[in-house]
Subunit: 449 residues, 2 copies
Amino acid sequence: MAATEATVMEKIVSLCKRRGFVFQSSEIYGGLGSVWDYGPLGVALKKNVKDRWWRAMVQARDDIEGLDAAILMHPKVWEASGHVAGFTDPLVDCRTCKSRFRADKIQESNCPQKPSKRPGEHTTCDLTEPRLFNLMFKTFMGPVEEQAAVVFLRPETAQGIYVNYLNVLQASRQKVPFGIAQIGKAFRNEITPGNFIFRTREFEQMEMQFFVEPGTDQEWFERWRQWRMQWHRDLGLTESRLRWHEHGEGELAHYAKAAYDIEYEFPFGWNEIEGVHNRTDFDLQRHQEHSGKKLEWFDQASGKRFLPYIVETSAGADRVTLTVLVDAYREEIVEGETRVVLGFHPTVAPIKAAVLPLMKKEGMPEVADQLYRALRARVPAFYDDSGAIGRRYRRQDEAGTPFCFTVDSETMADRTVTVRERDSMQQERISIDQVPAWVTERLAGSAAG
Amino acid sequence: MAATEATVMEKIVSLCKRRGFVFQSSEIYGGLGSVWDYGPLGVALKKNVKDRWWRAMVQARDDIEGLDAAILMHPKVWEASGHVAGFTDPLVDCRTCKSRFRADKIQESNCPQKPSKRPGEHTTCDLTEPRLFNLMFKTFMGPVEEQAAVVFLRPETAQGIYVNYLNVLQASRQKVPFGIAQIGKAFRNEITPGNFIFRTREFEQMEMQFFVEPGTDQEWFERWRQWRMQWHRDLGLTESRLRWHEHGEGELAHYAKAAYDIEYEFPFGWNEIEGVHNRTDFDLQRHQEHSGKKLEWFDQASGKRFLPYIVETSAGADRVTLTVLVDAYREEIVEGETRVVLGFHPTVAPIKAAVLPLMKKEGMPEVADQLYRALRARVPAFYDDSGAIGRRYRRQDEAGTPFCFTVDSETMADRTVTVRERDSMQQERISIDQVPAWVTERLAGSAAG
C-alpha cells in the first residue's frame, strides 16, 4: 500500500470515530481485533443502505420474498453445504516469531519481526508445514460442552434460504422463477481480517437467491449482473471505480458454473463488494441428499418437474457502507483551508438537512426551531446553533448533510432562509414555508436516479 | 396450561407456518430446538415493529442517538458486567431419565418419563445436587481453541451501549440527560426455552439506555414507564391484556434500584415483554473500575462532575412480534363458517392493501394490475386473482391485510371499486383513482394513534 493511500484510509477511520460513524469495539478495554461498532451516523448510513437494498430487492418486485433465518442452524446444514469438510484455510506458523499466516497469502504478508521482509525471506522465520483450519465459529447449544451440542455460527446467510425454500414457496404462493432475499449477520474466523470494516469476523450480508428452471439460468444470471451493477451506480458511486471481475477456471468455486464479482477501487486496491454466481442445482442437490426430503418443483403450467438452478447475488452490507464512505470522502482547498466533505448521495446521507440560526438572539432560535421541527417530521434533520456559521457548515460537510438552511436577520424580515448546498457550496434564498417541500422534492428526485 | 389455551397457541404456530410468518429453523433436518426463522410475512411484521420502535426512540427525539454494536465484544466486558461470575442457572440432572432441569423451576417442570408427575415425585427420578451453569454462549476467536481466544456471544445488547457511551456523547455533541438506543441480537443458552418465539436462545432486543444526573433518576424512570406503556398501547394491543409488574425486594437485580415489567397476558399466562429499570450507576462504576478509564460526565452549565445514572428500557423484538400476533388472532363464525383474522393495527400489518379482480376477463385483470402498481409504489400491496372472491378475502384476513379492493364489472363501467374492510367486513365503493390516497390517509391516521 502506498503511503498516501494508507493516509486516506487513516483519515477516514479517524473521521469515522470523531463524527460517530464507526467506533472500535470495546475500545475502553483496548479494543477487540477487527470488530467494529456503528455509532449514531454510521447506524443511520448503514440502515439507509440496507433499506435501499430491501426496497429494490423485495418491496419493489413481485417475484422476490423476504426471509430472516436465525444465525444458529442445524449442524447437518453445514455438512450438506460442504462447510464442515471444505471451508478451511491453510495456515502456517512461524516457530520463531509465533505469528500465523495464510499459506496461500504468504507472498503478500510481512514478517512482524522484520516488516520489510516476507515470512521465510530471512533466517529468523522458521515456518511449519501448512495445516487446514475451519473458518466456522463453533459454539455449544445447551449447557454442556459435548459433541452432540456443537453448533456453528453461520458463515453465510445463503443456506438459511436454501433450507427454507419450499416453505417460502408454499406460503407465498410464488412460482419458479422467483427469489428469496435476506439481510443478516454471518461469522467467519478469518486469520487475516483487516482494512477497517472491509474484512471482519462478524459481518452482515445482503443476499438474494433466485430459483430458475435449468436452461434459463444463464439468461437470469446476465439479467442479475446488470441489475446489481445498476444498483451500485444508483448509490452514486463513481463509475470508473466500479468494474467486473470474472472468475477464471482456477478461481471458480466447486458449486459455480459462472461467477462475477463487482469490484470497487478502494485506497487499498480493487476488492469485491458483491458476487453474482450461477450456483446451478448444487445446493438443493446436496440438501436433498442429506435431508432425504424431495426439493423438486413441479410446474403445473408446463407439467415439468425439476430441481431449480440458483442465481445468487451476495453483497456485504458493511462493505457497501465502507464503499459509500470511501467514495464520498474528499478534501478540497477552500479559501486557503482544507474542507473535508462526505459527498453522500442524498438518499443514503444520515442527515438530510441541517437548520442553523445565525445568532442565538432576535428571535432566530425560535424560528429556526420551528423549521427544524417541520423538517424532522419528514426527514432526519439536525439543529446546530453553536460556533461560527462557517464552522457549522464544515461540520455538516463532514457528516455528509446535503442541505443547510440558515435563519438570519433577513428571515425575520421577509421569511426567507439561505439554502446552502453541500457540494457546490452555492447559496440561494427560498421562502421558509417552502423548505420541507423543497427537501422532500430533492430527495424524491435523487431516489429515482 | 389449559387445553383450550394450548390449542390457541398451536393454531397460531400452525397459521404462522402456513402463511409464512415463522418457520422452524432447519425444518428439513428435523428442526433445531427453539430456533425459528421469519418467513415473508413475519420478516415484514417484525421489521414494522422494529422500525416503529426506532422511529419513536431515535428519529422522533432530539435526545436519543442510535448505535449498532457488534455481537462479539472484549471478554473483559462480561467480567465487568458480572456475567462471567453471576449469569448462571442452577441445574439438576435426573440420573434415571438423563433429563436436565432448572433447580429453581423444578416445581413447574414435568418428568419426561411420567409427564403427570414433577421430577422427584416418584422413585425413578434420582436428582443430582444443583450445579451452576453459565448461560453465555462461548466461542473461540482466531483459529485455535485456546483460553486466550475465548469470546462470548453477548447475552444482552446493553453492555455495547455502556462501553460506547463516551464515544457517542463526544461524537454526537449531546449533553446529559440523553439516551442511546440499539436493536440487535443477543444469545442465552437457556435450559428451558419455549412458548414459540417467546423464549429462544437467539433473540433480538430493542434496548435504550438513558443517562441522567443522579437524583433525577426516579423522575426519568417514571417518565420512561409512561412512554413505554403508551408505545405498546399505540401498537393497538388490547388494554386489558397489558399490566405492570413491580419487582419486589426479593426479585430486584443486584444493579437495580427499581424495576417494572410490562406484562402481556399470553395464552400461556402473564409474561414480560419489556422491562424498565433504574440501574443506578452500577454499570458505569463497574466499567470504570475494570477498564481504568474515567467515565464521568462534566456538565459545563452547572459545573458538576458525576457518573450518570441509567434508566433502561429493554424490550424483546421477537416477544413484541409474538404479542402483536397473539393479540391480533381471533376466530369468528361468519355465515356458518369459521373466519380466522389477524386484526393487526394497519401500521404493523405486513400487507396494507390487496387488489382482487373479480374475474380473469373483460379487462378486469388489466385495470386491477394498474391499481396494484399504483398502490405498491406507496405501500406493501398484494395481487390475487385466483379462487372465489370470498376465499380470497379469507386469505387476506389470515394475513392481516386491513383493506381489499375488488375490481368488478361495475369498475369497468364507472371506475369505482369495492373497498372491503377487514374487521367490520363492511364494503363501500370509491373511485379507483382515489384508492392510493385513501389508503395513505388511513395509514397516516392510524400511525398518529
